[in-house]
Chain length 395, copies 2
Amino acid sequence: MTTTTRSETRPVQDASTSLRLPDIETPAALVDEARMTRNIARMQERMQALGVRLRPHVKTPKCIEVARRQRAAGASGITVSTLKEAEEFFAAGFADVLYAVCIAPQKLDRALALRRRGCALTILVDDAAAARAVDAKGAADGHVFDVMIEIDTDGHRSGVKPDAAALVEIARALQGRGAALKGVLTHAGSSYDLDTPAALARLAEQERAGCVRAAERLRGAGLPCVEVSVGSTPTALSAQSLAGVTEVRAGVYVFFDLVMANVGVCTPHEAALSVLTTVIGHQPDKGWAIVDAGWMAMSRDRGTQRQKVDYGYGAVCDADGNILDGFVLSAANQEHGILARADGAIDPAIAERFPIGTRLRILPNHACATGAQFPCYHAVAPDGTLQIWRRFHGW
Amino acid sequence: MTTTTRSETRPVQDASTSLRLPDIETPAALVDEARMTRNIARMQERMQALGVRLRPHVKTPKCIEVARRQRAAGASGITVSTLKEAEEFFAAGFADVLYAVCIAPQKLDRALALRRRGCALTILVDDAAAARAVDAKGAADGHVFDVMIEIDTDGHRSGVKPDAAALVEIARALQGRGAALKGVLTHAGSSYDLDTPAALARLAEQERAGCVRAAERLRGAGLPCVEVSVGSTPTALSAQSLAGVTEVRAGVYVFFDLVMANVGVCTPHEAALSVLTTVIGHQPDKGWAIVDAGWMAMSRDRGTQRQKVDYGYGAVCDADGNILDGFVLSAANQEHGILARADGAIDPAIAERFPIGTRLRILPNHACATGAQFPCYHAVAPDGTLQIWRRFHGW
């Protein structure tokens, strides 16, 4: 089931030797285990204090080893963004899986196969015709799908409005022989555009209240609605009350990143994911050092472009992860990153500061996008030893 | 050596049955074989007419099947952007490999291992200290590396200027026991910022003249310089003369994309790579259809953002690949694409035009970035049958 490619096991190590940073080639995706452990504990403790279950979104790390640590800290089930994630995590022993993207009818066979193998997979719809298609498929195959309805509480993407007539119509379509309504779900993704605690707390309350309102409408119409699922990392860390909510979904908190630092829910010093890179050249008259982490390693995500602090393609740290203030990846080609001063000034000593062969870590804008560029993570333990953790790719 | 993951073989097909578009799940990366064949022939014929060899850059497709077709059409050797590409292509029978990124000293062991296995790998430097490190490594290991010097002909990234004193210093450092100077190389990557034939032809001439000038300086100093390697897709397709050049490198021409269409070296109708996607929902009051190709499928590349035509995250086609003028992916989340009118107007009939379950193809901004999001391509033959072509991931 799990395959290993050559790149995931480079360099080949004897089990008796410990892999350390100087042993690995660049670019590589590093996970600072101590930071990740603190990020997991922080979110878990907050959810416990607010009286709700935490269902981590594994689309950020797509890594069994990370999800095992979230589960060990108290997480309850997982959220996925693709059926491949559902299959991979189910094979690794995660049976309670919520697929939080409205399902295309063509994917119902694959979802059904997973459920018949014993996966407690919940699927999502936000449309009456789609709900009827799920019910019809279940009825035709003698199966009852567990289904949630997506609620739109901030206008940023999918879902029906809490007060839309369609909400009850969709729910009624899920009362047939092939589908069972499990609850309502919302995601306040517009929280990524905010950057003050007050605005985040307001949006968290809007997310909570809208989803609870949808659940109450369904219950008022005599329809079952056990689960009320909300979440995004910024709102999860900003909510003052989660009354009426049963579970929270959040993903990027496990690593954090520069976008989240600009939103204000972490600092760059809490970012657990970085890209290890090597200096391969300079253009001293321009104040550039050139590194082997281009956009293929960092991803093309420029999420900080319109935020308080624009980090270009990432913030520069030394090889131990200490931030070198004032330096960013200002531009990127496929396998070349251009390291320069963030303020645009030319550092005349760039070649002496960062000689060829110097190793650095780059903090990414968006951990979900950067992680996806790598077949594996190198997890760095507090004692400096590394473990290779596979991650998924594709659909 | 070659591993196959489950996603690459979904759905499992009996060898006797033909895979067709309705059989595969979305999102999927489609390659239109007829278009690709024309793109390959066009570039190959142009290079032959200009009297130079073509060394395709395989960083765009990272796919053995594609490179085999380029070789069959007359290409001579390959260009790579990573040592993993070099290893994978060498294992598939491509022995003449140019690694066109200045090498980090820590990668010399891996390069040496590849050369000792019989790969004619050429490496690149643009710095005297790096050149001395290569020579010292070769001398210590009783090996002579083939090395080229990167020349900067347009100021966009790496390389030494054709008239820099450092050029001769680097070349002299490659006359020792561990390194042999093979030639000079340049890449006019700033061609991506141009969009008129006249400007492209001027830059192509600047690229040619600068690289030839560097070669002549070396020869004038009594140093060997057999190879003069230039190239980028836009300059390769715009050069009026390549006098003094021995080979051209180009990558994205094999697929083309919307960035190249804006540059003016192809039309969107020549783009061979697209992403097959399925409509999963709507927000009719906003004129949105929501599809299952988000940025994880399209990549975060927004290369058309500052060009003549901004296609958002991609141009929308029907399932057969016919462009639906006026519709783009206007925004993207990880697994959600938002399809809307390009002019910002609200299409009140969006849900009727694109019902849930509708399949579409999205042309990407940048084929190199979009291809990298997928473990395989689905190559669509003129008769509509599909073949699965593996592609590489990682370093």
